[in-house]
């Protein structure tokens, strides 16, 4: 062998070196590094989310308030957008706004270019079209191979009522996505109302289907025969406490007015009706129109998206005297025989809290019946002075007031976003007047439900229910049953007032209805107890307030009505409460003239651009 021939070993050595290098690298890739197997699965296996049907929302008698309808999103797969697209034809087939369509499509393509969106990931170009809208397009989908229709679930409302109470669903936001791993971008979530508080019940459980996909995202059958798939679980139906009959009726009564009605079944705390006016058709915030309609509703100066039944509220006016009477009795400051003089008003320094003319001096029952201001100024003064000092006396008084649910937001309730209103703490007045520098007489207007107090219709209705029950109440709530299982989450709250004293107050409330300010609100065929109120409004006409329960002996319903800018409580709020109770107890109303007057009464200036409900639509 010469030197040249020996070079063959150099060549073979070279080959062997490369071969060994390859085997070494292959062993790393294939045997020692497990990440490639995971990435390969991520490539070829797509987890398809199986969306469960959202549960229905029913009224207390099983009538449907919210159901589902299939809607369609027009999806595009950007990678398949090849040939020039006949946008005109596509949009024409489903009555799609061409400008919107072009904008959305461009947006998707920009995101693909920026590599924020996979080329093969389907994205919605037009969302939430109804079955009717896509009917023509569906037949001709084959002409647009880069597009397909993705069925989705759309909420529908058979009656255009209770919009603010039911709430609506919308795409989950970034904040929630970070908090809760259940949600994925594009998922829908209950945003307000019952949809929000019962989200976990209504949404059900998403399922996953593992399928093979190719590099373009086309499906190719199930992975491992569906071994790792999970079925979706349909959402549960929620039976609410609402009674569709009086809910709808209340909304009709409140047409063209601003205000709220809350009706509660006293013994259960179940909310029978929660009306806020003006309102809107919940079907407006569904599907394609949502953005446009939402914008208009937000701009409406009458604030139809605002739930007035649970807002911070107004001074309760004379309805508050009921609590002062009860507290006075409980503390022994008052007895049914206690009389205070009323010479047309209560004098505090140089200031007079006026009263209307009535026979006097009234005793306790008559003071409720005639709503004597002087009586309750004096009673409040004595209640606070009953303590060792003003501060202690006030704290005791306030404890009883909040025990009726005023100044609280019912934290254990299922009604989202209830406002607490305001029953000031001592610190409030300390800040205002200085510690030790205020006396009962300084804040005497609290005696007659004016001043700094703020309460809402829910709190007033609850207070009335507590009185109707004889001194206790169940946290007011909107959920009754999940599927067939009763919800028993809401606790019984004690006011700490002896039922006997409550009985005296109730007696006074009955007299209001038979011989007092509530005479015009009497309900034919049933005894009731009520109280008028007028919330002073420094910005305009006073707000009209009325609370009422019936039947007097065994209360089935407690109602609070608040009508803004309606003047004296007996004019609007009283008749509305009366009609609501009649409708609830007898399922029909036999006072068509009164009904007509209330329904046709216009107390607000409607926003002509706003899609709020006209009475004729109800």
């Amino acid at each position: 062998m010469n030197e040249s021939e020996n070079k063959k070993w150099i060549f073979i050595g070279m080959f062997a070196f490369v071969g060994i290098a390859f085997l070494a690298k292959l062993s790393v890739l294939q045997i020692f590094d497990p990440t490639y197997k995971q990435i390969a699965n991520a490539n070829a296996i797509r987890k398809l989310t199986q969306y469960p049907a959202r549960g229905y929302i029913l009224d207390r008698n099983g009538e449907v308030l919210v159901y589902n309808e299939v809607s369609y999103d027009l999806m595009v797969v950007p990678a398949e957008l090849g040939a020039p697209l006949d946008t005109m034809a596509l949009c024409g087939l489903a009555d799609i706004d061409i400008a919107d369509f072009r904008k959305n499509l461009q947006n998707i393509q920009d995101q693909v270019k920026a590599r924020k969106l996979g080329k093969s990931t389907p994205s919605p170009v037009v969302k939430q079209m109804s079955k009717l809208e896509v009917a023509t397009l569906e037949e001709r989908m084959y002409e647009f191979p880069a597009f397909f229709l993705q069925p989705r679930i759309l909420r529908r409302y058979p009656k255009p009522i209770a919009a603010n109470i039911l709430g609506y669903i919308s795409e989950v936001d970034d904040k929630k996505l970070k908090e809760d791993p259940y949600y994925r971008p594009g998922d829908y979530i209950g945003n307000t109302g019952i949809e929000k508080s019962y989200e976990e019940v209504l949404r059900g459980k998403k399922g996953v289907k593992n399928i093979f996909v190719d590099n373009k995202g086309n499906p190719h059958g199930s992975y491992m025969n569906g071994q790792y798939d999970t079925a979706s679980v349909a959402g549960q139906n929620l039976t609410s406490t609402l009674d569709i009959l009086i809910q709808e009726y209340g909304e009709k009564l409140m047409a063209h007015k601003k205000g709220a009605i809350v009706a509660i079944e006293p013994e259960s705390g179940e909310i029978l009706a929660m009306v806020t006016a003006p309102s809107y058709d919940p079907n407006l915030l569904v599907g394609r129109g949502i953005r446009k309609n939402y914008g208009k509703l937000v701009m409406d100066h009458n604030l139809p998206l605002f739930n007035r039944a649970i807002m911070d509220g107004y001074p309760p006016g004379s309805t508050f005297k009921l609590l002062n009477a009860a507290i006075g009795l409980q503390l022994g400051v008052l007895t049914p025989a206690t009389r205070y003089p009323c010479g047309g008003g209560f004098r505090v320094g140089g200031h007079v809290v006026g009263c209307h003319s009535h026979p006097g001096p009234p005793d306790l029952l008559f003071s409720i019946q005639t709503s004597c201001n002087s009586y309750y100024c004096a009673a409040f003064r004595d209640i606070v002075n009953h303590g060792r000092n003003t501060e202690e006396g006030y704290i005791t008084w306030r404890k009883y007031i909040t025990a009726f649910g005023l100044g609280t937001n019912f934290p254990d309730s299922d009604i989202p976003n209830v406002k607490s209103g305001l029953v000031p703490q001592t610190t409030f007045y300390d800040k205002w007047y200085g510690r030790g520098k205020w006396k009962p007489t300084t804040i005497i207007s609290l005696g007659i439900g004016q001043g700094e107090l703020k309460v809402n219709a829910l709190q007033l209705a609850n207070m009335t229910a507590a009185l109707a029950n004889g001194g206790w109440w169940i946290t007011p709530h909107l959920g009754k049953k999940v599927d067939n299982e009763s919800i028993r989450l809401f606790k019984r709250n004690e006011t700490g007032i002896n039922p006997e004293y409550i009985g005296i107050v109730k007696e006074g409330m009955q007299r209001v209805m038979t011989g007092g300010t509530g005479r015009g609100a009497q309900i034919p065929g049933v005894t009731s107890g009520g109280k008028t109120g007028t919330a002073q409004n420094p910005h305009g006409e006073d707000h009209s307030v009325f609370v009422c329960f019936a039947p007097a002996d065994k209360p089935k319903i407690a109602v609070a009505v608040l009508v803004e800018n309606a003047g004296f409580g007996a004019t609007w709020a009283g008749p509305i409460a009366s009609l609501m109770i009649e409708k609830y107890l007898f399922r029909e109303v036999k006072r068509p003239d009164l009904e007509k007057r209330i329904m046709e009464g216009v107390l607000i200036k409607p926003d002509p651009a706003s899609p709020t409900i006209k009475p004729s639509q109800l």
């Binding site: 073979i12 292959l26 890739l29 294939q30 045997i31 490639y36 990435i39 390969a40 699965n41 490539n43």
Partner: protein, 433 residues
């Protein structure tokens, strides 16, 4: 064929057939989604590939009936024709993926003259250097003295190099990195035939320094290069020539490092620079230039030890590896046949290469030997670059895996290349010239 002086090496044929049919199986796996139900349809990639296998085998069979003197006799005309094609493609050829290296007859019938050029140049080098009198540095070939070292290059040696460099220059002009490197591999043959190995050492050094330049600061590298050069100069101080050579090399490589750094940052086109940066791991870009290689590594890596089974590879079946049935066909092997299958294929290739080299050395005819080395060198370059690319050891360079990748003209060319050697080898006892 079955004459007494004919000794066909069946091992080479078996290895060839194994590679070809295993290749087709994998092309089928990677393109089965094209299937329209008809197995032998020419509208599918695997259908066309099967046709080309038939044509190639027919050609191989035909070659065995050629007179073995034919190749030696027609080496020059074949070479001339190749130069004509290589020149012609620069004028009338069509650019495919940025390289003007194809004669496109129809979409599925393309011809790359560089494939033919490799065959022709291997033949002509064998013919020219096969002359008994050929030597790179015979008596009287000294050009000049570098200190005490004579620098020799005979006239025929110079001419042999020219036969290589003329087609090499034409291929370089096609702007096709893969073809150029594959062709350049023929230079290994010169080394076997007595040309100094220093050139190969320098070429290897140049590649190592190129990669280092990307990774490390250029001044550190220059310091190391000069340090090693000084050390070598010290060790080689017996010969002033070697000492001077070491110093000169140190200086030249320092300049090379400096120039390369400038070249990478200022002259290379972006995609070329990116490929180098991604390969050495300096840049992470899984969606961009790294994408193809990444998908290939994912497919191979997911195969594990024994693979997912034939036609069961999800990455292969659902086409996640771009260009899989051409340049990235090795990833289909890796995924479906696993480490064992991939190793078997690598062993088959290394076995074939080694067999060719060993067979070449037993030729009585210098022509046959030199041609054999040419064949081995070309195959070696293709295999190293292609598999290296698929597993992420070599930058992305579009070059087929011999006899394995989809592509008729490539399969046909390699078949001619190899069977010409098999034919020559079968007459190894004869002296051709």
């Amino acid at each position: 064929m079955a004459r007494r002086d004919t000794h066909i090496d069946w091992l080479m044929i078996v290895l060839y057939l194994f590679i070809v049919f295993f290749g087709w199986m994998n092309v089928y796996a990677a393109s089965q989604m094209e299937s329209n139900g008809e197995f032998f349809s020419l509208s599918t990639s695997y259908g066309r590939q099967l046709l080309w296998i038939g044509i190639s085998l027919a050609a191989a069979f035909g070659i065995m009936f050629f007179n073995s003197y034919f190749f030696s006799a027609f080496a020059y005309p074949i070479y001339g024709l190749a130069l004509l094609f290589l020149g012609g493609v620069l004028i009338v050829g069509q650019a495919v993926a940025g390289s003007k290296s194809w004669f496109v007859i129809t979409e599925s019938l393309k011809f790359q003259p560089s494939e033919f050029g490799k065959f022709a140049t291997a033949l002509v080098m064998a013919k020219f250097m096969g002359e008994k009198s050929f030597s790179f540095g015979g008596p009287g070939s000294t050009l000049f003295h570098f200190f005490d070292l004579p620098v020799k290059l005979s006239r025929e040696g110079f001419f042999a190099l020219a036969l290589f460099f003329v087609p090499a220059a034409l291929i370089l002009l096609e702007n096709d990195t893969g073809s150029t490197i594959a062709f350049a591999a023929l230079f290994l043959v010169f080394y076997r035939e007595g040309f100094t190995g220093l050139v190969l050492v320098y070429a290897l050094l140049a590649v190592v320094l190129l990669i280092s330049t990307v990774l490390v600061d250029k001044f550190i590298i220059i310091a190391v290069v000069l340090g090693i050069a000084a050390l070598l100069a010290l060790l080689l101080r017996r010969s002033r020539g070697l000492m001077a050579l070491a110093i000169l090399s140190g200086v030249v490589f320092s300049g090379y490092v400096y120039g390369t750094d400038y070249l990478i940052n200022n002259v290379l086109q972006k995609h070329q620079r990116d490929r180098i940066l991604v390969l050495v791991g300096k840049v992470k870009d899984p969606k961009g230039v790294e994408y193809n290689v990444n998908q290939s590594k994912i497919a191979i890596g997911s195969g594990g030890l024994v693979g997912k089974g034939y036609l069961e590879g999800t990455q292969t079946r659902y086409r996640f590896v771009p260009k899989q049935y051409t340049d990235f066909i090795f990833s289909a092997v890796g995924e479906e046949w696993g480490f064992l299958g991939a190793s078997l294929l690598i062993l088959a290739y290394i076995g074939l290469l080694s067999r060719i080299v060993l067979n070449a050395e037993r030729q009585k005819s210098r022509f046959s030997r030199i041609y054999g080395y040419g064949v081995a060198s070309i195959l070696f370059a293709h295999i190293t670059i292609n598999i290296g690319m698929c597993i992420g050891l070599v930058p992305t360079i579009g070059i087929p895996l011999p006899m394995f990748s989809y592509g008729g003209s490539s399969l046909f060319s390699f078949t001619i290349l190899i069977f010409t050697f098999i034919k020559l080898d079968s007459k190894r006892s004869a002296i051709l010239s």
